[in-house]
Amino acid sequence: MLRPRLIASLLVDQQLHLVKTNRFHERHYLGDPLNAAYVFSGFEVDELLILAIDATAHGHCVPLSFVESIARFTSVPLCVGGGLANLNHIHELLALGVEKVALSSALCSGLNFLEHASQQFGSSTITVVLNLCSNAAGEPLACFGRPSPSNPGQPLFTLARDCQLAGAGELVLYDSTRDGSRLGFDIPLFAALNDQLTIPLVALGGCGSHAHIQDLLRATSISGVAAGSLFAYAPWSQQVLFNYPLTSHWFTSLLASQRELYT
């Protein structure tokens, strides 16, 4: 039985500082991303999602030497993104030992790039990150790349369906409205979206506790739950303490007890 993945999310800025964001704005300095990746690899995370969040704004791809270091000193499945804009970027990242690349901003101008990437490299290597930018009643809007006045959202469900049709292997829905809040997920939204899709969906943004994860898994058989704050801070604090094993053990027990739900 395929298990839902418990994914650790790491964000790096233009200076390759590890940061934690709040609603995609404030940034909290967390230190060296290479050591963080090494630590989470030692924690045997199900998967590590690494996004260079300033790459597009500065007109380049996530630095290859940085990705090479990460791949060299970790042994966990990696999904890496940030400023990927052409097939060559993807080819180089995959050659470094990354399982999947994450596309977002490059898709603002259309999904041709996604189609070509999926055809060339196989959909299982292509993840699309959609940012949920507003969630006013019944009208969830999402966009590729950073939400802004010049990058307004489009209806989430349409966008998601289009990505699926264009060959995305996986969708990460990053809830910018709850990012860093630790208020939990918008469960009805994720459940509805997951039911609509035939490709895997990963939830990111807002996870603050085990209860949040449990509630989401009860509502829908989502493919993955990603978290930043939960794994970067000591429980219920803003003090940095990378952690994962406790949550992982709890997660394994939870899945074992839920096994009767999956035949």
């Binding site: 039985m1 395929l2 298990r3 839902p4 993945r5 045997e44 199900d46 998967e47 791949a71 060299r72 042994s75 966990v76 499945p77 995959l94 050659a95 470094l96 030992g97 990354v98 399982e99 999947k100 060339q120 490299f121 196989g122 959909s123 299982s124 290597t125 292997g169 996986e170 997951n194 039911d195 609509q196 899709l197 035939t198 490709i199 895997p200 969906l201 058989s221 493919s223 993955g224």
Partner: protein, 213 residues
């Protein structure tokens, strides 16, 4: 005792970096082989995991590796096919209908099309458990049944056929698929042992256990 050498067959795509690292972690030298000589000087062969069935077949032919590879495997050099590499060892794949696999396993690779596609997603991504109905394959030696959890990333899968006699193990995604097959010194795994923690490394060790040195 001299270190064992593993040749990773060049399929002109995808990454071998993770594989090289995994072999390094178990004190084995792994290198990319793009000529017949490089294949010959190895103790064991690996057909790596990422890419497209069609391009991989064409690449094997174009590089002149297909024949020497086939001969080496027939002569008994241990060979492990990982993910796409596993598919290459089968007869054919729906991913590239015109192409012919190496055919060492009398099996077929098909696109996963679940009866309930909203419940069972494709690609099949993440950690799944293995089960063996018969005697567990020796590739899983020293891996506790509770720890037979491996990392998968596939849209195509190898179909179990009734009466398949060689040691094998399944994974389940709406229906059972072949996770692992072994026939003498030829092995195929659908998952990525190089990213599957200590159990993955143990599997690689098991693979090399019988490789000559």
């Amino acid at each position: 005792m001299p270190t064992k050498k593993v040749a990773i067959v060049s399929l002109c795509s995808g990454n071998i970096a993770s594989l090289e690292q995994a072999f390094e972690a178990i004190d084995v030298t792994a290198y990319l082989a793009s000529t017949p000589d490089q294949l010959l000087s190895a103790d064991a062969l690996v057909l790596p995991g990422v890419g497209h069935f069609g391009s991989a077949c064409q690449s094997l032919t174009a590089s002149g590796l297909r024949e020497p590879l086939t001969q080496l495997i027939l002569s008994g050099m241990p060979c492990l096919g990982i993910c796409l590499g596993f598919h290459l060892l089968t007869q054919s794949s729906e991913e590239a209908p015109g192409e012919v696999g190496l055919g060492f396993f009398d099996l077929f690779t098909v696109r996963i099309t679940p009866a309930d596609p909203h419940r069972y997603k494709v690609p099949h991504l993440g950690w799944n458990t293995l089960s063996s109905s018969l005697e567990p394959p020796s590739l899983l030696d020293a891996i506790h049944p509770d720890n037979q959890l491996f990392y998968f990333a596939n849209s195509y899968a190898v179909v179990p056929t009734p009466g398949f006699i060689y040691p094998h193990a399944f994974y389940n995604h709406n229906s059972p698929w072949l996770a692992l097959v072994q026939r003498g010194s030829i092995y195929g795994v659908q998952f990525h042992p190089e990213k599957s923690r200590s159990q993955g490394l143990q599997l690689l060790r098991n693979f090399l256990r019988d490789a000559s040195c």
